[in-house]
């Protein structure tokens, strides 16, 4: 025990004024990076191959704007279908029923194994498999043959070419593939929620659907959203793959078409880069606000701040 001192004798010590630790390594790295960046910008400006005037003149032509519109619509629809189907698959995967679990596992296995480019081309050629799509009772033809009677179980049918237009084929390829990835993301999110939450809600008499919708999903969203944001950005870029279905009115195809027609492919590739950069930036802003909305009740720190704090702790207080 330290001896008790009279409070009057204690004087507040002066504020510490110490020489801070120098970080020469950081300065050298920063200088090198600055030089490299300057060189890059210089190249962008001076290299005649970029033809900036041509890029600006052609990057906003009506077919390109139409292409941007198609790509965005494709992205939004593919993500909506992908997320909804992904939630269904994730819930199936966590079900008690082994058949539901198995089907979900099989779906995810197949669609994660196949490259989107291959899927896009495959769906573009679906017309080979079926001349028409009919909806009705399953296996009626086979049963009719077996029993030697005539049953028509078909409710309605559509020509494959009317249903599977290029756009539909491309959309399906992207959406079905996305669903497999989203299923894994959603499953991880659902599993991250404390089982005590489900119990508390069940004890209040809430139904399974209510528990999932009101209690579990909103909390899982915090885990689901960041990777879904990345998936959306990937999807925006992957809309360029449907050019191979072929879907001719999407962004990348249009820019390439102009470039090829006018023997200026490189500037149009640069224009494509700039378009994807701009659109992705808009998505990033949207992601920021969505994540903020779903982090309600989890403290004020954003993800970036948390990472910074962790880094600071690792390095010791500065």
């Amino acid at each position: 025990m330290a001896p008790q001192q009279e409070p009057a004798e204690r004087v507040r010590p002066e504020t510490i004024k110490a020489v801070p630790v120098r970080h020469p390594g950081r300065w050298v790295t920063a200088a090198v990076l600055l030089v490299l960046a300057a060189q890059f910008v210089h190249m962008l400006v001076t290299n005649p191959a970029f033809q900036w005037a041509y890029v600006v003149d052609n990057a906003f032509r009506p077919p390109v704007i139409e292409g941007v519109r198609t790509s965005l619509i494709l992205m939004v629809l593919a993500m909506i279908i992908g997320v909804v189907l992904g939630i269904v698959l994730a819930v199936m995967r966590l079900s008690d029923n082994p058949i539901l679990r198995g089907v979900s596992w099989l779906y995810i296995w197949v669609f994660r194994a196949l490259p989107r480019l291959v899927l896009a081309i495959l769906f573009g050629n679906m017309g080979v498999l079926y001349a028409e799509f009919s909806f009705g009772l399953p296996f009626t033809e086979q049963f009719a043959d077996l029993l030697g009677v005539d049953i028509n179980g078909t409710l309605f049918s559509v020509d494959a070419t009317t249903l599977l237009t290029g756009f539909m084929a491309g959309l399906l390829a992207l959406a079905l593939s996305e669903a497999a990835y989203m299923a894994e993301i959603v499953r991880a999110g659902l599993l991250s929620v404390d089982p005590g939450q489900t119990e508390a809600a069940a004890a209040l008499g809430m139904s399974k659907l209510q528990i999932t919708r009101r209690i579990v999903l909103p909390q899982a969203m915090r885990v689901i959203l960041p990777p879904t944001g990345s998936e959306t950005i990937v999807m925006l870029k992957d809309t360029s793959l449907v050019a191979y279905v072929p879907v001719t009115n999407e962004l990348f195809f249009q820019l390439q078409a102009i470039g090829n027609r006018e023997f200026q492919p490189f500037p149009m590739l640069v224009a494509a880069c700039l378009w994807y950069l701009a659109l992705t930036s808009v998505l990033l802003v949207g992601q920021y606000f969505l994540e903020k909305r779903f982090s309600r009740g989890t403290g004020e720190q954003s993800g970036a701040n948390r990472a910074k704090t962790r880094l600071r702790i690792m390095k010791g207080a500065q």
Binding site: E199, A202, G205, M206, S207, G299
Partner: protein
């Protein structure tokens, strides 16, 4: 003091609020409950004590069918929990029917289990709004009233992460009361709290008991059992070793196992 409870059940009052008959429960090959018989009368406060692993929490979770029992019968308010008995055969109830049975039974958990994405007020309003589908204005008034009674009038807009453990547990009690339960189950409600916060939760529970609520309390707070409890059950190894008036059992336990346990915790 105003009445914290509201008896919502209009049916004929059952003789016992909880009645267990030879209840067994196993997890895999481990038998956790080895034949529990007990009755809780309406308005009674029963405290269940015992060492960890004795099966007391498991039994409490069987009462509202969070756990399925393997054999025996369990009635709450005269209704067989989880099953329908017809012509000598048991039929499992549908999820919807089990949910309906749970509406009259409030439960408070050791780790609070508040919904972290909702404010205190939203936590209390959730079940009456979604399960009972009561009008929002009415639910809100009642929720505010309940939060006021547990001493959290100035904390209604706070998220659980902004509340202390004691405050969270009081919100959890208000949330359970919002469904106007006939029975309240407390699963070690103060075990996860800092010692200085235990008192505020016990005070709310004591007030609830004084208002006539039927309560089953799994706890290590022997003081609460003595002061508030109408009956005390000592469980060990999946069976009830001893039960009776808490003051008598605590002062003079008849079974050696009970004596040994109390000598350690008192």
């Amino acid at each position: 003091m105003t009445d914290l409870t509201k008896n919502a059940d209009a049916g004929a009052p059952a003789e016992f609020m909880v009645e267990a008959e030879d209840v067994h429960k196993s997890f895999g090959r481990v038998e956790v409950l080895k034949g529990i018989d007990l009755q809780v009368k309406p308005g009674e406060v029963m405290c269940v004590v015992g060492p960890s692993g004795s099966g007391k929490s498991t039994f409490l979770r069987c009462v509202n069918h969070l756990e399925k029992i393997n054999s025996g019968r369990l009635w709450v308010n005269g209704r067989l929990m989880g099953y329908r008995e017809k012509n000598g055969r048991l039929y499992e109830l549908r999820d919807r029917e089990v949910a309906a049975q749970r509406r009259d039974i409030g439960m408070v958990f050791q780790r609070f289990n508040l919904f972290p994405h909702m404010t205190a007020l939203e936590n209390v309003m959730e079940a009456p709004l979604r399960v009972k589908r009561r009008p929002k204005a009415e639910v809100r008034t009642r929720a505010e009233e309940l939060l006021e009674r547990v001493g959290l009038a100035d904390r209604m807009g706070n998220y659980p992460s902004q509340l202390s453990g004691g405050q969270q547990q009081r919100v959890a009690i208000a949330r359970a009361l919002a469904m106007d339960p006939a029975l309240m189950l407390f699963d070690e409600p103060t075990s996860a709290l800092d010692p200085e916060l235990v008192g505020e939760v016990l005070t709310v529970m004591q007030q609830l008991a004084a208002d006539g609520m039927t309560m089953m309390v799994v706890t290590h707070e022997m003081g609460f059992a003595r002061e508030v409890g109408d009956s005390l059950v000592f469980m060990d190894g999946g069976v009830i070793v001893e039960q009776g008036d808490p003051r008598e059992v605590l002062a003079d336990p008849s079974h050696p196992r009970t004596r040994e346990f109390f000598s350690k915790v008192l």
